[in-house]
């Protein structure tokens, strides 16, 4: 019986590892569709940002109450991993509370900490469900945000309920285990005097008082399996879910943009064209590198701006996989606040949806498969793009430094430069700048006329 459980456990473990590896490779391949972009510079500044924003969750504390609640789940998640190590070893070796005899004085303290965290996670998950379905926090409501309809709301609910189930399994497992130990049943009894009652689960023990020994062992085994299989299933599920942010949040922050927020990225391939047009010496190649003395720099100029995910940078794509759809960007977006179609969260979700569609294409038609869709047009519309004021509120609001604005601007570049599809009044503005050196139709020679009024009485 015991050996059967061990075999089953190892099979579950190996299957999970194999499946996650497969998923990670698929996601990595999708992210690598993006154009190259050097985000490996300034290691110390990046590390500092990651420690503050990812590990320290600095931006989450913009709302201290929500910050604390998120921190409980986050700390619970990280610290409970230590406990999972024991569970995995117990599962493989067929032991029970392997660590207990070796670290006797520390063991109960550790489990107490895990239990407090598990209880905290449980409470916070309930609060989070209430925020979604009772307090109805605006940014989480599908009626107000069309990008949340369907799967995103189910995804969020599944995660919260799953976490509650996992925590209940953990706490009741400890309780039933303690009752079995008290009764001296089998190997449970061996821990008498080694493992005391734990901080939270001791109060759950009365629940099991009426159970027969057999029923109790059955419950203990079920809770144990539910907890660990739940965790393994969750690990797989995460690779399909917005909850991938628990893994990608950290690298995503590490590779975040270090430029001032207002700075728009230069297009060196255009610099070369403009230098040629103005009769200036060419200083940059199409790839941005300095050219040699002959001014030669052969490089393929691709599209101007981005039409599809392949034209974006890999960091834009990593951003999309890291997004947890919390909607702080959209809640801060002036266009979204005033009822326009633009939602920065939707920009990120569309980008991820596009990549997942491409992945499905690979899986059903082979790795060279290309459909006839594109991010611009089939997922994101011109109306959304045109509504952006480039105010950077979305960039500022994201707790893990995702930049929806960067994607919006690259798509705008494609529309204007490749498709000549700017709104008519923008075209008028362009031609005014080109002809009159100002966005309005005034004569350039009148530019200094204001100086005539400088001595007039106000």
């Amino acid at each position: 019986m015991e050996i059967f459980q061990q075999i089953l456990f190892v099979v579950a473990l190996v299957a999970t590892a194999w499946y996650i590896t497969k998923r990670v490779r698929l996601i990595a391949r999708a992210i690598n569709l993006g154009r190259p972009e050097n985000r490996f510079d300034h290691a110390d500044e990046r590390l500092k940002t990651m420690l503050l924003v990812a590990f320290g969750q600095k931006k989450m504390f913009a709302n201290p109450l929500v910050g604390v609640m998120h921190f409980v789940i986050y700390a619970g998640f990280i610290i409970i991993n230590i406990e999972i190590l024991e569970i995995i070893l117990d599962g493989i070796l067929g032991t029970h509370r392997l660590f207990a005899p070796y670290i006797t004085p520390v063991y109960p303290i550790l489990i107490d900490v895990f239990e407090v965290l598990a209880f905290g996670v449980l409470v916070v998950c309930v609060v989070f469900l209430c925020r979604r379905f009772i307090a109805r926090v605006s940014r989480l409501q599908a009626e107000r945000h069309r990008e949340l309809r369907g799967w995103p709301v189910s995804d969020a609910t599944i995660i919260l309920v799953a976490e509650i189930v996992l925590m209940v399994a953990f706490l009741t497992w400890n309780a039933s285990d303690s009752v079995l130990r008290d009764r001296g049943v089998g190997h449970y009894g061996e821990l008498q005097g080694v493992v005391p009652d734990f901080l939270i689960s001791q109060y759950l023990k009365p629940l099991f008082a009426g159970f027969s020994d057999t029923a109790l062992v059955a419950y203990e085994r079920t809770a144990w399996w539910l907890h660990i299989l739940g965790i393994l299933a969750f690990a797989v599920y995460v690779t399909y879910s917005k909850h991938l942010h628990i893994a990608l949040g950290f690298p995503n922050v590490y590779f975040s943009d270090l430029q001032p927020k207002g700075e728009m990225q230069n297009m060196p391939e255009i610099t070369k064209e403009v230098q040629l047009a103005l009769g200036l010496p060419v200083t940059t190649g199409a790839d941005g590198s300095q050219v040699n003395d002959n001014g030669e720099q052969p490089a393929e100029v691709g599209r101007f701006g981005a039409k599809d995910v392949q034209d974006l940078k890999w960091i834009n794509l990593m951003n999309a996989y890291s997004c947890t759809e919390c909607g702080r960007c959209t809640a801060a977006c002036p266009a979204s606040i005033t009822g326009k179609k633009l939602s920065p969260r939707k920009i990120m979700m569309d980008t991820r949806d596009r990549m997942e569609d491409i992945q499905r294409g690979w899986q059903t038609h082979g790795n060279d498969y290309q459909d006839d869709k594109s991010l611009l047009g089939d997922y994101i519309t011109a109306e959304e793009l045109n509504a952006c004021t480039t105010c950077q509120a979305c960039v500022n609001a994201c707790p893990i430094n995702i930049n929806p604005l960067d994607i919006i601007l690259q798509l705008r570049r494609y529309r204007v430069m490749e498709e000549s599809q700017a709104p008519a009044s923008w075209n008028a503005m362009f031609s005014n700048i080109e002809n009159n050196m100002a966005p309005w139709k005034f004569s350039p020679s009148d530019r200094f006329n204001w100086a005539d009024q400088v001595n007039e009485v106000k």
Partner: protein
């Protein structure tokens, strides 16, 4: 009746270079500051302050051209770079080192985006510049209009605030007025856009439930302020339009911080 007539001068770079002279700073006026009737008054107020404190400055006059910011943000990178490189040729030709501008969009572009194209200057926004003058005691706001007891709220510009993290300079300038400064709910990094950036100023907004500037003005009026202070030509227009939309133009005024300082100095 005699009245003291102050005379203010506006030297151009061309004149200065012709006489072999160099200014301390170049005042980059910007398109709105040159052509927009309302913002021309801001340009004039700032020039009067510069004259008053005796700063040696110059403007490019007819040689100035749009920085290209609205073109770039609307997606027209070609046009932006054409403008940028032409401007850089002019600026570098005059050996310009230090630029002051009253437009956060010009400020951001000149400061952050011109270096990559060969234009490296020390770029200062007029709020920072005025803050410096006040800190040095070169500007005293006791000689003109009194602001005591007046409620002023400051609207953060995206390209000054979030884009370049300048939040305190304009507030310090307003603090010198001895007025009652009141803050809106969404300020500093959480400030709400006026609705004009990213090329929006030059087209109709997309359909929605409300215009952004109306939302922002409602928030500003909610503070009970009689003056909305701004530090950007786009914000100036959007806030003024919003105040008109609410039929409050008789009781609530929109001013640039340099106008308020000029009023306080009696310039």
């Amino acid at each position: 009746m005699t009245q003291e007539v102050k005379t203010y001068t506006v030297p151009t770079m061309a004149d200065m270079a012709a006489s072999g002279d160099e200014p301390e700073i170049l005042f980059w006026v910007g398109c709105a500051g040159s052509f927009d009737d309302r913002y021309k008054r801001v340009t004039i107020a700032f020039v009067r302050i510069l004259n008053h404190v005796g700063i040696k400055f110059a403007v490019l006059g007819p040689e100035e051209a749009c920085t290209g910011d609205p073109a770039r943000r609307a997606g027209n990178e070609f046009l932006f770079q054409m403008q940028a490189m032409a401007n850089i040729q002019v600026l570098n030709g005059y050996n310009i080192k230090k630029i002051v501008t009253a437009c956060p969009h010009c400020f951001n572009t000149l400061k952050n985006e011109y270096p990559e194209l060969g234009g490296n200057y020390e770029v200062i926004h007029h709020s920072q510049f005025l803050q410096g003058l006040i800190n040095e005691g070169r500007v005293r706001v006791k000689d003109g209009e009194s602001f005591k007891g007046r409620r002023i709220t400051f609207h953060d510009s995206c390209y000054l605030g979030r884009a370049n993290k300048i939040y305190e300079a304009p507030r310090d300038v307003l603090a010198a007025l001895d007025a009652d400064l009141v803050e809106m709910k969404r300020v500093r990094a959480n400030g709400l856009c006026c609705g004009a950036g990213g090329g929006q100023y030059f087209k109709e907004p997309e359909p929605g439930t409300k215009d952004v500037n109306v939302e922002r003005v409602e928030e500003a009026l909610g503070t009970g302020a009689d003056t909305i202070a701004v530090a950007c030509p786009f914000c100036m227009t959007m806030m003024s339009d919003g105040v008109k939309n609410k039929n409050r133009e008789d009781s609530v005024r929109v001013y640039d911080i340099s106008e308020l300082i000029a009023q306080g100095q009696g310039l």
